[in-house]
Amino acid sequence: MKLKLEKFGTTLMSRELGSEAFKAFQPTLLELYPSDELEIDFSGVLTLSSSWADEFLSPLLEKLAERLVLLPSDNLSVQATLKILQEANKRPFKFRFTPLDIANDLTG
């Protein structure tokens, strides 16, 4: 299952709204098969704060562990937020690299 985070807005800032988004997502999460991964797509998001993400991504990571997969993003706030959350949670996120990323890596 793929979730486009921009469905919750393009400026994802406050804890309050991050927590609301997590609650709103619960019914959809029930549809996820036990063998399925949940892919988080950040495209379209303009600003993602650590406060919002801590209320949304941190509990998802706790719940799904390896089944939570983050798609790469070139947005600087997404990158900075994910880095600090990994430090705070003392637990890394699992990232999915697209074929394009791998090709870019190979060609330098």
């Binding site: 406050s14 406060s51 947005n75 937020t81 880095k83």
Partner: protein
């Protein structure tokens, strides 16, 4: 010269204050009006109103030091108003040449500082709820301030051993602890520090008598004791 003279009602609307406030500011000399010869009506040069409204830091510091009134356009009484104004600012920075990528980190820094004020003072505002949030994108300045409890009092609830503003601000910017424990919180200011240290963004942050000043190319994080003790928190971001 395209100088326009504004009526008091027009100036009041631009600044977001009442006509009575403008009359009071005229009497006290804070913002002097022009009176036409023999007349009693107050007028203002449009340019003077613009200059007056541009001193964001003074408005914010006078408000948290003395409770002085400031143009209502800078006031966010609730988190929802702050969010809406933050999105508006985001669009403006995105359009600024050279900030096509950096905009998201500037919005992130301003958003985390503002959100912190609301999250830590919810239901506990000592007098005026909400924050001051002003920006001048052309000059690259953002100013945020609150008349809340401040970092020391907030963190003392979970760290009673904290005794000085300097130590409390240091903890807030460097350790993963929250003033709202047992809720899992407290990574916002750590992220602010990390972003400001590595990006072309300057920050001046004050709470109590503790000051953080991160400026220039070789920034290093240090909390120092300033000359004044202020209420709540105040931040100035430059980019």
């Amino acid at each position: 010269m395209d100088e326009r003279l504004l009526k008091i009602s027009e100036a009041a609307e631009i600044l977001g204050v009442s006509i009575d406030t403008l009359r009071r500011w005229d009497e006290s000399g804070k913002l002097t009006a022009i009176k036409k010869e023999g007349g009693t009506h107050r007028y203002y040069w449009e340019k003077d109103i613009e200059i007056f409204a541009s001193d964001l830091f003074k408005f914010a510091s006078d408000w948290i030091k003395e409770g002085a009134e400031f143009p209502g356009t800078f006031y966010c009484p609730t988190s929802a108003v702050f969010q809406a104004r933050l999105v508006k600012m985001e669009r403006m920075i995105m359009e600024k040449p050279g900030f096509e990528k950096l905009y998201s980190l500037i919005v992130l820094v301003a958003g985390e500082i503002g959100d912190n004020s609301f999250a830590h003072n919810l239901g506990k505002w000592p007098d005026t709820p909400g924050i001051f949030f002003g920006y001048d994108i052309q000059k690259g300045t953002i100013v945020l301030a609150d008349r809340g409890l401040g970092i020391l009092e907030t963190l003392r609830r979970v760290r009673p051993d904290l005794s000085t503003h300097v130590k409390a601000v240091e903890v807030a910017f460097t350790e993963f602890i929250s003033g709202r424990a047992p809720e899992k919180r407290g990574n916002g200011l750590k992220l602010v520090r990390e972003v400001v240290l590595t990006q072309p963004i300057d920050l001046f942050f004050v709470s109590g008598d503790a000051e953080v000043y991160l400026k220039g190319a070789n920034k290093s994080f240090q909390v120092t004791r300033g000359p004044n003790v202020i209420r709540g928190c105040m931040a100035k971001i430059n980019f």
